[in-house]
């Protein structure tokens, strides 16, 4: 039995002339089909259309985000005929797929990145193209373009700062104000915790990205820096050691107001404890506020955002986070650039305005955009919006993040991030009660080993 594609109609016609039998009729049919299909493939317009497809690796899985991207892709196709395939993946999987696609010689034309170290790595290898000409068209918030040797290699689409959330209603009832010092913060935690299910704070200490991001704000507030200008690890030098020790000892005190199963806490434990009314503080991007506006929880008006305190209160800190779109080098780079140029003036704004707190705008014009101003989430949370805007337009908060530490943007900081040196220091201090000075030695050793590889 043989099957021949009828090129004209697109239907299949099945002949039953026996296995392997070739007769005049079937030969003519096959030849006709081949000629027809060759003609179709040879048509210049169709051929051009076939090659006009670019792939966009999306890492944003929050409700509605993928839909906005798909809508944008459909609009773009209607406008230009170019198909933009949106491939949605978790953050962990995305980097593996980006690497694999580049190695295979068929890179994703565009992808979203969360770690600037990855961007630096690809830039150093010439796998991605500069986007400076696009970013130059707008004004940006602080510390987000993160240029590498004078060129910007990603188009930032949000800030993801690890913001400390507090129970506003509890603060108001007890006359508390957001803490600037460790002592003030401990006092508030003590007032909320009941030694049973109610805890003052939930900050993860697992060996994972959640700890690197959500639990390091106290270090930045205290003025801790990880490297000198030659990439030497300095957390154990005369200046940094006491600072790191102070934060570790503060954590040891705070631990009495945190859950006992702290080592298991990851992204969601703090969120869920807060949502259950059992935690006064946790750190995340303000999606709980968005859900309150959407009517998905009863915390409307009950959540406040604040910074991480320090020992003296002289400075407060924040762990910075960002995401950006990257364009890879390849045969479709020009097409990808054309799409990105269109995207940043169209879908980009819709994408941000769909979840304006989760995707805090890095581009300053967005804050004045009517779509943003009239977003129900923005209207519902003016204090939070102002707090977030101040973070990126003023310089009164010490910003830090492991992957942007060091004299320049480099994958070196990424290696230290992946070594989980800070989570291990915290675990040593809180779970094994190791003296803070020894914890610093352990952390410094892990960082140096990571850098040496």
């Amino acid at each position: 039995m043989s099957e021949v594609e009828n090129a004209g109609s697109g239907k299949s016609e099945v002949t039953s002339s026996g296995a392997g039998a070739i007769n005049r009729r079937s030969l003519l049919k096959t030849a006709g089909a081949l000629a027809a299909s060759t003609g179709v493939l040879g048509a210049p317009a169709v051929l051009a259309q076939k090659t006009k497809k670019i792939r966009f690796l999306n890492i944003e899985t929050a409700e509605g985000s993928k839909e906005v991207l798909l809508k944008g892709a459909a609009e773009y196709k209607k406008l230009t005929g170019v198909e933009v395939e949106i491939d949605t993946n978790s953050l962990d999987q995305a980097w593996i797929k980006v690497q694999a696609s580049i190695r295979a010689g068929k890179p994703y034309e565009l992808f979203m990145a969360s770690f600037i170290g990855h961007v630096a790595l690809l830039a150093s290898q010439g796998s991605i193209v500069p986007l400076t000409s696009l970013t130059n068209k707008y004004k940006w918030g602080r510390d987000v373009l993160l240029p590498i040797k004078g060129e910007v290699y990603w188009y930032p689409y949000d800030y993801n700062h690890a913001t400390v959330h507090y129970r506003k209603d509890f603060y108001e009832q007890n006359g508390f104000k957001p803490a600037r010092t460790f002592d003030e913060y401990l006092k508030i935690n003590k007032a909320f915790a009941d030694g049973k299910s109610k805890v003052g704070s939930v900050f993860p200490i697992e060996s994972g990205a959640s700890t690197n991001w959500a639990s390091t704000g106290f270090f930045w507030a205290e003025g801790v820096r990880l490297f000198d200008d030659k990439w030497n690890v300095i957390i154990d030098n005369a200046e940094m050691r006491p600072k790191v020790m102070r934060v570790l000892d503060f954590y040891a005190e705070l631990a009495q107001y945190m859950p006992k199963d702290l080592a298991q806490a990851s992204w969601l434990e703090g969120y869920n404890a807060f949502l259950a009314g059992n935690a006064a503080h946790y750190s995340f991007v303000p999606i709980m506020m968005e859900y309150a506006t959407m009517g998905k929880n009863n915390f409307k008006g009950k959540i406040g955002l604040t910074n991480y305190p320090s020992s003296t209160g002289k400075e407060v800190g924040m762990t910075a986070g960002y995401d950006g779109i990257v364009v890879t080098k390849g045969p479709n780079t020009a097409e990808a650039m054309r799409f990105l140029e269109w995207y940043v003036d169209n879908t980009y704004i819709d994408f941000i305005c769909n979840r304006p707190l989760l995707y805090q705008p890095p581009r300053l014009d967005i804050y004045d955009n009517p779509k943003y101003i009239n977003s129900p989430i923005v209207k519902d949370n003016p204090e939070a919006v102002q707090f977030l805007k101040d973070l990126v337009t003023k310089n009164d908060v010490v910003m830090g993040s492991i992957d942007t530490e060091g004299p320049e943007i480099s994958e070196k900081a990424g290696k230290v991030f992946q070594s989980f040196a800070i989570p291990i220091m915290l675990q040593e201090r809180l779970l094994k009660k190791t003296p803070s000075s020894q914890c610093v030695d352990i952390g410094a050793k892990i960082m140096r080993t990571a850098l040496s590889k």
Binding site: I96, Q99, I102, R103, L121, L122, Q125, G126, S127, K196, S197, K198, V199, V202, I205, E206, S207, G208, P259, K260, D261, L262, A263, Q264, E269, N272, A273, A276, N278, A279, E411, K415, Q418, S419, F420, I424, Q427, E428, L431, K432, A450, K453
Partner: protein, 298 residues
């Protein structure tokens, strides 16, 4: 054509079919087991820089193995793997034997209990792990609430002291049914006449267990213990999902270490070296077991 000739042709056709099926099985084994295995072993002798996408792998000799043994991580993971496998399998064997003995008796609802016993095996490890985590969460978990209602402190499972106990208990909960079912099947095949004869000879329940039941169970016990040891030693998902190998590497076994090296630290060569050594250890265990245990009994 004579009947004999027809029979010969039929036999020859059958032989061809059998040969083809065997060849297919060999080919599949080669493609799906041997090729990945050999690739993994080859990888352990290569230096691959995940941070250099345009760089080609280079021969590293025994460099990855030296790197592996130069830190305490390997010894720690090996020790944890042995504790995890041995504790899990011993507890499972004892429990499974007791449960199988009970289920071998006649009592109302026995069929239901036997069916219900299988349920833990049907639940994916990711569900078991997450449920356990949520149920034990101090802020909103049900177990801490119960303990607190009796005036007791919640148990902090994820500490260096208790984390291993936690994963062992979860493993026991999940996989004891497999052992129970296997032992129960063997129990049902023991002729009742043997017990009658033992009773006539004055043997009590304990004596019957040690002189009739246990000798009959030894063969199946050897097989399931060996299988469970291999599966537990190689288990990745339960530990990874429950503790991630922590805290402070207190539950990090060789598969978890290999994953961490390969996909967290991006040291693919060292990760492959860990997997190769782990494979070698298991191979040695299997060879010794098949030599000395009654698993190859005809």
């Amino acid at each position: 054509m004579s009947a004999t000739a027809q029979q010969k042709m039929k036999k020859s056709g059958l032989d061809h079919l059998l040969t083809a099926m065997i060849l297919l099985a060999v080919l599949m084994t080669f493609l799906l087991i041997l090729v990945p295995l050999l690739s993994g072993i080859a990888l352990s002798f290569l230096k691959i820089d995940s941070f250099a996408l345009d760089g080609l792998p280079s021969f590293a000799g025994l460099g990855n193995f030296e790197s592996l043994f130069s830190t305490g991580a390997f010894n720690n993971a090996l020790k944890n793997g042995i504790i995890f496998s041995a504790a899990s399998v011993v507890i499972q064997l004892v429990l499974a034997t007791l449960v199988a003995l009970i289920l071998n008796q006649t009592f109302p609802g026995r069929a239901f209990v036997r069916t219900a016993l299988i349920f833990p095996m049907l639940i994916p490890p990711v569900v078991v792990s997450l449920l356990f985590r949520w149920m034990n969460n101090q802020s909103f978990g049900i177990f801490p609430k119960w303990l607190q209602s009796f005036g007791m402190e919640p148990i902090a499972w994820n500490t260096p002291e208790l984390a291993m106990t936690q994963v062992v208990l979860l493993g026991v909960w999940m996989w004891t049914p497999f052992m129970t079912v296997s032992i129960l099947a063997e129990l049902q095949s023991i002729p009742s006449s043997l017990y009658e004869a033992a009773r006539v000879d004055g043997a009590g329940p304990f004596s019957q267990f040690f002189h009739v039941t246990l000798p009959h169970l030894l063969s199946v016990m050897s097989i399931i213990v060996l299988l469970r040891m291999i599966w537990t030693f190689n288990n990745f998902e339960l530990i990874w999902l429950t503790t991630g190998g922590g805290p402070l590497n207190s539950t990090e076994t060789l598969p978890v270490l290999s994953y961490r090296q390969s996909f967290t630290l991006y040291e693919l060569g060292t990760g492959a070296a860990t997997a190769t050594v782990s494979f070698g250890i298991l191979l040695a265990v299997v060879l010794i077991a098949t030599r000395f245990l009654p698993v190859n009994k005809d």
